[in-house]
Symmetry: C2
Subunit: 272 residues, 2 copies
Amino acid sequence: MIIIGEKLNGSIPSCAKAIANKDEDYIKKMARRQAQAGSAFIDVCASLKDGELEAMEWMVKLVQSVTDCPISLDSPDVNVILDAMAFCDRPGLLNSVSGEGDKLDLALPVLANPENEDWEVMALLCDDTGIPKSAAKRIEIFDKIMEKAKEFGIEDKRIHIDPLVEMLCTADEGEGISMLLEVMAHIKATHPNVHISGAISNISFHLPERKLVNQAFAALAINAGMDSAVMDPLEKDLRGVVYAIEAMLGLDDYCMEYTQAYRAGIFGKIKK
Amino acid sequence: MIIIGEKLNGSIPSCAKAIANKDEDYIKKMARRQAQAGSAFIDVCASLKDGELEAMEWMVKLVQSVTDCPISLDSPDVNVILDAMAFCDRPGLLNSVSGEGDKLDLALPVLANPENEDWEVMALLCDDTGIPKSAAKRIEIFDKIMEKAKEFGIEDKRIHIDPLVEMLCTADEGEGISMLLEVMAHIKATHPNVHISGAISNISFHLPERKLVNQAFAALAINAGMDSAVMDPLEKDLRGVVYAIEAMLGLDDYCMEYTQAYRAGIFGKIKK
């Protein structure tokens, strides 16, 4: 599982406060903890209207002062993401591109530049009409994204797709997450090397005991092909469930990775 | 999910002690708690070499003194199970029959008796050769059981099948639980009204943080059609994950059952 650590995001109140107060220790501590917990990327999202690029630079440099973990540059403004690439010491992830506006037209040429060949990209399956309600429409956006990516010669393995995880509590009657699973099945069938990703905790908005819902969703999503996720790498029980599911799917012989992760304190009770 | 509460079993040390000491309060308390937590059946297994039937009678009567929840009569000796039916105030479950010896030949005629038409049965997919290692062999036993059940006119909905959940840590390389899922798929495809069951916690033997492994397994098993389980109804996080999975599979519109179970204290933090 490719973990994109989600905790440095200005939409989280404690992080917004740290950004506002220029609290360097908070940023560094969160970066260090997420890296130590095995994040493949550390997401950096300032979530500011004014001064977003400057905040991004400040955050990226602080993260890089404590870890070599690649950065996931995250903003609703694709130009901010592309400009912020200059702050990065090493290739990372462009998060989030989508079928919206000219995002793809701006991001894909940059990814196609041989200098950026190790950069990856996260694409969301929405467009100018918003978040599609049907699997067919999301699949249509996916197909368009992949077509454009092919034109620019971007390899499938550099692409993460977020099929858009939405809250379960408002799902249509009798539907559950069937629409999402249909989109995932299409991705896996047509582009097995594309990473299926998503923000796991979106599933549990407005429900009690959100962690259990997140764990249940992760199990079904990994079973359907999810191999990348925007998630909290410090949510221990979720980490344990993810390792367990991987073992059940035959990806961890004799549960060796599960057991090692437990011994390393990735999940389970705190060991002294 | 049809829950067969597993806590009154002489193979659990504290329960063995209660049986040895004739501790009525222990038996009654465990029966009451499992019933209140929503068990469909309360399993009663004395797990004794000598005096098993007498212990069974003592346990069954104590359970029935505190709850109307039907009993799951559990013994490796099918004659003990059949004799113990006389102690039951209402129809329950015969647990565990299998392809072994003359178990089916003894149990099926009893189930076919019109007087016992509301009794159900749990059949394990093993036979005189032991626990088969291949899906093909387990499926063969399943097909034989169903053929015999048909001869006796036992309806599919009265039958629970335990495909035999085994510990994950010794699964063959690259296999995970794929064999078990194959057996479940066969059951669901050929007999959609048969209940797919199993002892969830068997999956996690010899692994740390067993509860997380149990939760992960429950998610994949329910997704594959499991709708009955021998489990601990008091394991709150597991209960929450089961409700969440059911909602994701479209079986719980707007998460109403999930939310109600939470409010009732079936899972989640203890409410005052």
